[in-house]
């Protein structure tokens, strides 16, 4: 679609393949030290296969965001969500809900190991309208960014990450959450400036 950004969440498929590879990797160890490695390897294999099966059953969650409207502090944006593929059963009477989440994520090196620490600093439920079209999982998500929150930050070791998490609940099918990272610019939305400026405490300012 012209003038939009399409974000798909394929992390479930990637994670499932990772688990399967890990499970297969543990097979030689299972021959040497049978019981513990066989159990761990089997757990990874089963977990990976289950995730692949879920990916087939549920389909791929996708968020379509208008390109002309980058997310700003205090800004509002209407995005379209849909799930493509999946079995007919997973498209029966879906219920959508969505969250806007902001996390700080830092990495540091200790010895030869890299560690990552993540801290959630903002979470808010978003308004969602589910399309009443048979045999489809789709809807509209209204993303409203607070004005006094930090914008996205993408440095080598220090990040502030905004994401929209859309949860799909269908009776008789496991719940599914699609995660979509969205950049928030360090710009106050025009509607806020038009109201007389943001003012108040700056984003991330000391209390």
């Amino acid at each position: 679609m012209a003038g939009t950004v399409v974000i798909t969440d394929r992390s479930r498929r990637a994670r499932s393949l990772g688990l399967i590879i890990l499970g297969v990797f543990l097979v030689p160890f299972a021959i040497a030290v049978p019981i513990p490695f066989a159990l761990v390897g089997a757990a990874f294999l089963i977990g990976g296969i289950r995730r692949l099966w879920l990916s087939h059953v549920l389909g791929v969650p996708t968020l379509v965001v208008p390109l002309a409207e980058p997310l700003c502090l205090g800004g509002v944006l209407v995005a379209r969500f849909h799930r493509s593929g999946g079995t007919p059963r997973a498209r029966r009477t879906p219920r959508l809900s969505a969250l806007l989440v902001c996390q700080e994520r830092v990495t540091y090196r200790q010895g030869t190991d890299d560690h990552t620490v993540t801290q959630e600093i903002y979470r808010r439920e978003l308004a969602v309208t589910t399309d009443q079209v048979p045999d489809t999982v789709s809807g509209q998500v209204v993303i409203e960014v607070p004005v006094d929150a930090p914008p996205s930050l993408t440095l080598t070791h220090n990040r502030v990450i905004w994401s929209v998490q859309v949860r799909v609940q269908v009776p008789g099918v496991p719940d599914d959450t699609g995660r979509f990272a969205l950049p928030v610019l360090p710009v106050v939305a025009a509607r806020v400036v038009g109201d007389g400026g943001a003012g108040g405490r700056a984003p991330g300012a000391p209390q």
Partner: protein, 127 residues
């Protein structure tokens, strides 16, 4: 005699895409190398440090002098930030060769449009 430097900013608050304007003074630059003023940020906190010089201004090779400068803040930040795991701080610094960071002033960088001050006003509503 060691080198000395001074730095004064017109405002210690700037916005993304705006400018940091001030006056730098220095003396004792006997190396004949270039004196400059830089705008840079640095992170603190649990993560490894990220730092970068985003703008610089050449002040010449004089042994001593005083000059006005203007440094552009990148339009998309980063902004000054005091979070739970990380902090991001901005500084302007005069750099005299072999006398690193002889004068440093901390400043606050805010999102664009956060709280624009009327022209000539002494301060900002934000910060």
């Amino acid at each position: 005699m060691s080198a000395q430097a001074g730095l004064t900013l017109d405002h210690t608050v700037a916005e993304c895409g705006g400018a940091v304007i001030g006056t730098a003074s220095w003396s004792g630059n006997r190396t004949g190398k270039r004196v400059g003023v830089v705008l840079r940020y640095r992170t603190q906190g649990r993560g490894d440090v990220d730092t970068a010089v985003v703008a610089s201004c050449d002040l010449g090779i004089d042994e001593a002098g005083q000059a006005r400068f203007r440094l552009c803040v990148p339009p998309y930040g980063p902004i000054t930030y005091h979070g739970q795991l990380l902090r991001l701080l901005w500084q302007a610094a005069v750099q005299i060769p072999r006398h690193p960071a002889s004068a440093i002033v901390e400043l606050t960088v805010l999102p664009r449009g956060w709280a624009l001050p009327p022209l000539g006003s002494p301060g900002w509503r934000g910060g």
